[in-house]
């Protein structure tokens, strides 16, 4: 394990130190807003205390795990390909923007535009789980992958802001909630998740809860909604003229 004190280091120097470090496990302390930490990194684990800057783990590659022990800022996991980003706090806006693989796990809440335009292809199936709630435009233009919002402090209230899933034309959004968002677009199908659908996320949700010590979530008893693109009003028809 290699320790790096990030105090007063510019993000370019810091990222160079991480990239050329031979040890595969790097622990950063005193991080204060340095951007692009772990950008396009492959096969390395990074542990962060302090506040990592914007675009943490952008274009992240396989075999990498980034763990943040505080909150993170905006655009975490931007266009990430693979690997995992684990945040033991809140996230700013647009985490998982255009993400095309890997996992982002956020214990508390996320800002606006979480999972904006995530996409999937064959075995690349990105996943984002948020423990509590997210702001507006969650999963906007979603093209693939899965977003799960658990609302673990919300007592069954809807854990998303306005315009959830607006423009989505692929992928799935799971909401642990007793009510649906009030302004759902007609281009979205929303229904209570079936047993099969819940089975498909059971493993991930269970390990998320044990990772963050969240104990009040019960996949068998709690109500989960699933949102997906409408089978009748397909956006696809808007984009392609057949």
């Amino acid at each position: 394990m290699k320790y790096i004190d990030a105090k007063d280091l510019h993000y370019k120097e810091l990222n160079k130190l991480i990239r050329y470090e031979e040890d595969t496990h790097v622990t950063l302390t005193n991080v204060m807003g340095q951007r692009f930490i772990g950008c396009a990194l492959e096969g390395k684990n990074i542990d962060i205390t302090g506040i990592p800057g914007n675009a943490l783990g952008a274009c992240l590659n396989g075999g990498s795990i980034i763990t943040v022990h505080n909150n993170c800022q905006d655009a975490t996991g931007d266009t990430m390909d693979d690997g995992e980003i684990i945040v033991h706090g809140n996230s700013g806006d647009t985490a998982g923007y255009a993400m095309r693989g890997g996992k982002i796990l956020i214990k508390e809440s996320g800002g606006y535009r979480m999972g904006l335009h995530m996409k999937a292809y064959n075995e690349r199936q990105p996943l984002m789980i948020v423990g509590n709630r997210v702001g507006s435009f969650c999963g906007e233009y979603l093209a693939g992958g899965t977003i799960i919002v658990l609302g673990y402090r919300e007592n069954g209230n809807c854990p998303v802001g306005n315009f959830c899933g607006t423009g989505m034309y692929g992928g799935r959004i799971f909401l642990r909630s007793n009510e649906l968002p009030k302004d759902l677009s007609p281009y979205i199908d929303a229904s209570v998740a079936t047993i099969e659908e819940l089975e498909s996320i059971r493993e991930e949700v269970t390990s998320f809860c044990s990772l963050f010590d969240i104990t009040n979530i019960d996949l068998d008893k709690d109500n989960f909604y699933i949102l997906s693109q409408s089978k009748v009003n397909e956006y696809k028809k808007k984009y392609t003229t057949v």
């Binding site: 204060m32 807003g33 800002g111 306005n162």
Partner: protein, 362 residues
């Protein structure tokens, strides 16, 4: 060199603000420490600060901070000021010669009071009188720019990175209960001193991160009420709109926020009846003052500070509170550098203002 207004400037930028609800005074260095963290959000083409409560010994007078291109502009402006104001005190604003800040204009400060006879003649109250005089100088005297005109407050801005601008103006020597800071990233012009943030009229100052798509509509609307946009960067018009709605029309700031960042109609539809009527009224009547495009702003005013995002929240903004202190910033790191243990951390929603005021003024 083309000045702003001759070319269009979208900008990136960083903002931060610090406020003590108990009116505890602290030096401008804290604002410098905060904005320095976001160095990479600026490109060295503008930085600035606004401090409130910094001139207690002259608190009943308007403090004018003026930038002059040359002596001629200074002579002309001082003649104008002598004609319209009683000048209580005038001095150069103390600066420190540093490598990072070059080509400074002449930078002067005047504490003034409207001349009683002129004021009576004008049939205006002193704030309106002073505002009109400021507009007049900025519009008609070539090479003169009044960047700040409130009471017991001041704006300090320059070309350069904000942390250097703070050092240049010796902000460690000023103590205020509120500071805002700005680092600029204009992408289309060289930028210039007057075009740096904050933009200010009377005691209102605005720092802004974003780009106003509706600038021209907003500008034309404000011209109907006598506000001339002389600096022609989009932020200037926000300062005037707040001055108009808040000072002249007497609307509380949360209502002003509902005009500038009006909710979408689909959101208004779901409001309860009373609120719906009110917001619909504001949106319909002042549609020309709706700001479209991404923005996060901090608005300093006498006794308070307001943070506001555009309704779609296309820019970042975080607010932390600890005891009587309130910290606001584009990035969490910019406020964590000052305080690591918040009582409360808030990510304001789009279009929802976060307003703090001095406890003795609530």
């Amino acid at each position: 060199m083309k000045r702003e207004g001759e070319v269009r400037i979208p900008s990136g930028c960083a903002i931060s603000g610090i406020f003590s609800k108990k009116r505890r005074l602290f030096s401008g260095e804290m604002a410098i420490d905060s904005i320095r963290v976001m160095h990479d959000r600026s490109n060295g083409l503008g930085g600035g600060f606004a401090g409130y409560g910094i001139y207690p010994e002259y608190q009943e007078y308007f403090a004018l901070h003026v930038l002059y291109d040359d002596r001629k502009a200074k002579v002309e402006t001082e003649e104008f000021l002598e004609e319209h104001f009683d000048v209580i005190n005038l001095s150069k604003i103390p600066t420190r010669k540093i490598h990072a800040i070059k080509d400074e204009p002449l930078i002067w400060r005047y504490f003034v009071e409207p001349l009683r006879t002129r004021l009576m003649e004008s049939q205006l109250e002193e704030y309106e009188y002073t505002a009109r005089c400021v507009m007049k100088v900025n519009l008609h005297i070539k090479g003169a720019c009044i960047i700040s005109s409130g009471k017991n407050m001041g704006v300090f801005k320059a070309m350069g990175y904000p942390e250097d601008v703070g050092e240049f103006y010796r902000l460690e020597d000023y103590k205020g209960y509120c500071w805002t800071a700005h680092g600029r990233y204009p992408t289309n012009t060289p930028g210039w001193w007057g075009g740096a943030h904050p933009f200010s009229l009377l005691d209102v100052s605005v720092v802004h991160n974003g780009e106003i798509s509706s600038y021209d509509a907003n500008r034309r609307f404000m011209e109907m009420f006598g506000y001339k946009c002389t600096l022609q960067t989009d932020t200037e018009v926000i300062a005037y709109m707040i001055d108009y709605f808040h000072r002249k029309q007497g609307l509380p700031l949360d209502k002003v926020a509902s005009i500038l960042a009006a909710p979408l109609w689909s959101t208004i539809d779901r409001m309860e009846e009373k609120q719906k009527r009110e917001i619909t009224y504001l949106r319909k009547n002042f549609s020309s003052a709706l700001i479209t495009g991404p923005f996060s702003i901090l608005v300093g005013f006498e006794g308070g500070l307001m943070a506001l995002n555009d309704r779609l929240k296309l820019r970042s903004l975080v607010v932390g509170e600890k005891d009587d202190m309130v910290y606001m910033g584009s990035e969490e790191s910019a406020i964590r550098i000052l305080e690591n243990d918040f009582d409360k951390l808030t990510y304001p929603k789009g279009g929802v203002p976060y307003i703090v005021k001095l406890e003795d003024q609530q």
